[in-house]
């Protein structure tokens, strides 16, 4: 009997083997089915295996050392409750992406650029979660980044994708650099890179602060924290849709895992000031992410920006947990932490679902631009239902799962008056307000996305002649939609499954939820707040049915079809209806005037002229222009200066080498 950790590692090995096999098989037609079938099986086995461990007895920690990697260190692997939870999230996403790709992948025109890297990407993510020393962690992290980069570059000839890949590569390298330094500080001068040794050593003062900042830079750039998010909306949509789903729904979670592992587990208890930083970053990320999404008309980029928003919500939960933990308030900390974990699971579910939906739309119409979609609800009935469920869930509306984690986060916010620090007391309600703003804007954003692509009249012939997609894709989306509903209706089950994680990391767990009558959830105290998704769903269903039956009796008249009324003004062309941009106009005007320097320009022809009036909207990405534009300009200027160094004489080079040598010797002299 193999230990669970060894079993998980063998799945990783099998995924890598599939990856090698794919290099050979990608040329044949059968490759698609074989490779995705294999990843589907392996991910399901891996996910179910740890799920059993998580529900059964999460407390068991298993270790494994392989004699590979650094000779004096070896490769350490470890399976505990935290990694088990993330393994479930990742392998669930991986399995469903594989199922979806069984159908979607058949439309791939360059399978040899996708198939070998897909299992490798999955293997990389699994390895990050299992790694138990800094070296194997970073190695797996880089492996994951490179595999996903290769997938981003799968369609490298499409405009913009090469740039997306480049920006991604730069940001990923920057992130890894930050992580490398963070682990360096964690290991200290003694340099023991095993996680056990790091955990045992005390961390405090400047080094701990630096580690936190570096983790926010390293893991935050991968997760998409504003202002490190710029690569994400470029790279995620560029990949094939099932990979976009994995990158957005799952890979960002691996980054968050890294943050939790280091900040909550390895670093010990950070000071409360750390939570201020995390909270404000989370709040800003949530609001900015969704505002960017609202300004977008490319469906997949909209989804990528909404990922940034959700990462912000998760970081708010983590920040609250840090704040409560720093003040020794165990239960509220466990509540906030559970809320963050719950949202991690939820986001992986509905974001994968929505990216699959966007992929289905792409297959059916060849379009990602919502300006050329519309009316798909008539032609893609199954996709339109599951996409609607995903849209409702991500907009944090009851009775779906997005609402539960949002509600738990608000419950944690409501605990904040117990915090002793004034800074936090004043800040947390404001952050709560930002969360509510983000949730309302998310609803607006998904009304826009769904309204423009699935409802309204078709805006292009492609949308008019769309066909429903294959059964595999629909099955994958339907499973995710069902999971969104189940997690929203039975939140107690999920919270109980998360309890071992919070017990392991925070040493305190919330009270068991499944024993409560009627399957309610009561995070702290019944008098403080409770929620019952099952009853909410039941009551809505019952009253809607009652209303329907009553109406049927009272008003049995037939339905008559007629041209749209529109106050008597029939619009002849579909372009005259509200476009995604015009839908976002009120919000663009309210929020964008400041945040995006948005301006609407209207050019009216003089009276009597028959020239058309012109309208254009101007938007600026201030983060990109001011931060990254400036950095790029500085690098450009410095490298232009340094260009002269390439043309020195041999004497020049020799004196440079000599000067460097002297400088280094001086440094050593001072150090020692």
């Amino acid at each position: 009997m193999m230990s669970a950790a060894a079993l998980q590692l063998s799945y990783v090995g099998a995924l890598l083997a599939v990856s090698v096999l794919a290099v050979v098989l990608a040329r044949w037609r059968i490759g698609n089915a074989v490779i995705y079938g294999a990843t589907l099986l392996l991910c399901s086995a891996a996910g179910l295996g740890v799920l059993r461990a998580l529900i059964g007895d999460g407390a068991a920690v298993e270790r494994l050392v392989l004699p590979i990697g650094l000779p004096w260190l070896g490769a350490h692997f470890r399976l505990d409750a935290l990694s088990a939870f993330f393994l479930v999230v990742i392998n669930l996403g991986g399995a469903l992406a594989s199922l979806y790709a069984l159908g979607y992948g058949r439309h791939e025109h360059a399978p040899q650029r996708v198939l070998p890297f897909f299992p490798a990407f999955l293997a990389g993510m699994n390895m990050v979660l299992l790694a138990d020393d800094a070296f194997s962690y970073l190695l797996s992290w880089e492996f994951m980044s490179l595999a996903s980069w290769a997938l981003v570059m799968a369609h490298h000839r499409q405009s913009g994708n090469a740039q997306a890949g480049y920006v991604y590569l730069v940001m990923a390298s920057f992130g890894t650099l930050a992580l490398l330094l963070a682990f360096g500080f964690l290991a200290g001068p003694a340099g023991d890179y095993g996680f056990d040794a790091i955990r045992a050593a005390p961390h405090s003062g400047a080094a701990a602060t630096l580690v936190l900042v570096l983790m926010l830079l390293g893991a935050g750039s991968k997760a998409g924290l504003v202002p490190l998010h710029v690569w994400l909306p470029l790279a995620h949509p560029a990949a094939p849709s099932h990979v976009s789903a994995l990158m957005s729904g799952v890979m960002t979670k691996v980054a968050i895992y890294g943050f939790i592992r280091v900040v909550f587990d390895l670093l010990g208890r950070p000071d409360w000031t750390a939570s201020v930083v995390v909270l404000s970053l989370g709040g800003v990320t949530a609001v900015m992410g969704i505002l960017y999404a609202l300004m977008e008309r490319d469906l997949k980029r909209l989804l990528a920006y909404s990922t940034i928003e959700n990462v912000g919500i998760i970081f708010v939960g983590l920040g609250l947990a840090l704040a409560f933990q720093a003040n020794g308030q165990g239960l509220p900390a466990a509540l906030a932490f559970t809320a963050a974990l719950f949202h991690i699971l939820n986001h992986s579910l509905f974001k994968s679902l929505l990216f699959f939906g966007a992929g289905a739309v792409l297959v059916a119409t060849g379009e990602r631009n919502m300006d050329r979609l519309g009316g798909l609800i008539h032609r893609m009935p199954a996709t339109s239902i599951v996409f609607l469920i995903g849209a409702v869930a991500i907009s944090a509306l009851p009775p779906f799962n997005g609402f539960v984690s949002e509600w738990l986060t608000f419950q944690a916010v409501l605990q904040s008056p117990q915090l002793p620090q004034w800074g936090l007391k004043i800040m947390v309600p404001a952050i709560g307000g930002m969360l509510a703003l983000a949730a309302a804007l998310a609803a607006a954003c998904f009304v826009k996305a769904y309204g423009a692509s699935f409802l309204s009249r078709p805006r292009s012939p492609a949308a008019e002649n769309a066909q429903e997609v294959d059964r595999f894709s629909i099955a994958a989306m339907a499973i995710l939609a069902l999971l969104c509903l189940l997690a929203g209706v039975f939140p107690g089950l999920v919270m109980d499954a998360l309890a071992p994680v919070s017990a392991e990391i925070l040493h305190i767990r919330l009270a068991g939820q499944t024993e409560l009558p009627w399957l309610s959830i009561v995070p702290i105290d019944l008098r403080k707040g409770s929620y019952n998704g099952l009853l909410v769903l039941a009551f809505i269903a019952i009253s809607a049915t009652l209303g329907f039956l009553a109406i049927l009796r009272l008003s049995p008249h037939a339905v008559r079809r007629a041209p749209a009324w529109g106050c008597g003004f029939a619009e002849p062309v579909p372009q005259a209806q509200y476009s995604p941009d015009s839908f976002a106009q009120p919000i663009r005007r309210v929020f964008g005037t400041l945040l995006f320097r948005a301006r609407d320009h209207v050019t009216m022809p003089p009276p009597g002229s028959v020239a058309p009036a012109k309208f254009s909207a101007e938007l600026h990405d201030l983060v990109w222009e001011n931060l990254y534009g400036r950095i790029a300009a500085i690098i450009e200027a410095v490298s232009t200066r340094l260009n002269n160094m390439q043309l020195l004489s041999i004497r020049g080079y020799l004196s440079l080498v000599f000067a460097t040598l002297v400088a280094l010797l001086v440094v050593i002299a001072i150090w020692a």
């Binding site: 519309g374 009316g375 609800i377 409702v392 944090a396 608000f410 419950q411 008056p417 004034w422 007391k425 004043i426 309600p429 404001a430 709560g432 307000g433 969360l435 509510a436 703003l437 309302a440 804007l441 609803a443 607006a444 009304v447 826009k448 409802l455 009249r457 009558p517 009627w518 309610s520 403080k528 707040g529 409770s530 929620y531 019952n532 909410v536 809505i540 269903a541 009253s543 809607a544 209303g547 109406i551 009272l554 008003s555 008249h557 339905v559 079809r561 007629a562 041209p563 749209a564 009324w565 529109g566 106050c567 619009e571 579909p574 209806q577 509200y578 839908f583 976002a584 009120p586 309210v590």
Partner: protein
């Protein structure tokens, strides 16, 4: 959470009460408004007649209306009704009050609005899109304000559950609080925006360029329109009940208190409805509608009031 016959009775009566009173409240407000303008105004029962009239009419659907357009009236009506049934009206301690707290009630209204906004986009006319886009803009501003109000009230009462809050505020230990006053003003502002009342939107017209809610539902007719109108009546009643239960819970009966106090509670509740309805009509007659892009400032003020109320509570628990 033991269930008694009394609990079921109270819960059932609440659901029935909001159901029957909602059109009456709207009729009352219309009547008062008309009288204030020195018109006679329609009868108090006119909203009921309107609903029946709509039920008797054919449904005319746009050619390209989808199933979502037809399902939306039922979904929104159900969500609003469930939300309205969760707000204590004449008695606290509802059977299902632990099913949902104030945040859930707000979110249920959000669900209703989400579907209505989608239905506005469905047919693909300019009016529908215009209404939807403005509705979600207003909601995006109203929801954070609402959360801060919830936060402020929950801070005073130590709970986000409505029955607990109402019982706490009705008890003698609260007295006059500045922060609750601020929260109340903020809630009134949010309620005006959420119910599409003047000065944010005008409920009695749909031929104005600045309209929001009425533009969104322009394509609806017959029984579908009846359900949506009924939902709007219920939503208004919900907000009025919320104001009454959060800030003026006096006279509200405690569940299990016996028939007499239920009767008193109901009478007091009706008086409260009439009072708030009268004030609303007075306010609507005295103010003009504002431009759509002034609404952010209006709701921003509500947000700031909510935050101010919360911060005052940190300064002193007795403020």
């Amino acid at each position: 959470m033991g269930v008694t016959l009394d609990d079921i009775l109270v819960q059932g009566l609440q659901m029935l009460l909001v159901f029957t009173l909602a059109p009456l409240l709207t009729g009352f407000i219309r009547k008062v408004k008309a009288r204030l303008m020195r018109k006679r105004g329609p009868s108090l029962l006119q909203p009921y007649r309107d609903l029946l009239r709509l039920l008797r009419k054919d449904v005319v659907l746009a050619d390209n209306a989808s199933w979502l357009f037809r399902a939306t009236p039922y979904v929104t009506f159900a969500a609003i009704w469930v939300a309205a049934a969760l707000v204590p009206t004449f008695a606290t301690g509802l059977l299902f009050n632990w099913m949902a707290d104030l945040i859930v009630i707000v979110a249920l209204l959000g669900t209703a609005r989400f579907f209505l906004a989608l239905a506005g986009m469905d047919v693909g006319t300019a009016f529908g899109g215009l209404g939807s886009s403005r509705e979600v803009m207003i909601a995006a501003l109203a929801e954070p304000a609402m959360l801060l109000i919830v936060f402020c009230v929950a801070l005073v009462a130590g709970s986000s559950q409505l029955s607990t809050i109402a019982n706490f505020i009705a008890s003698a230990q609260v007295g006059l609080r500045v922060s609750l006053g601020l929260a109340m003003i903020a809630l009134i502002m949010v309620a005006l925006a959420e119910n599409a009342r003047i000065p944010v939107d005008n409920p009695s017209t749909h031929l104005e360029l600045t309209m929001v809610h009425e533009a969104m539902i322009l394509e609806y007719s017959g029984r579908h329109l009846a359900l949506i109108e009924f939902g709007a009546f219920l939503k208004l009643l919900l907000y009025v009940s919320l104001l009454a239960c959060l800030f003026f819970p006096w006279g509200i009966a405690v569940s299990g208190a016996g028939l007499q106090s239920y009767v008193v509670g109901t009478a007091v509740y009706v008086v409260k409805l009439a009072a708030v309805g009268f004030l609303l009509a007075l306010f609507e007659t005295a103010t003009a509608k504002m431009r759509v892009f002034r609404v952010p400032q209006f709701l921003g003020a509500a947000l700031m009031l909510g935050l101010l109320g919360t911060l005052l509570l940190f300064v002193s628990k007795s403020l």
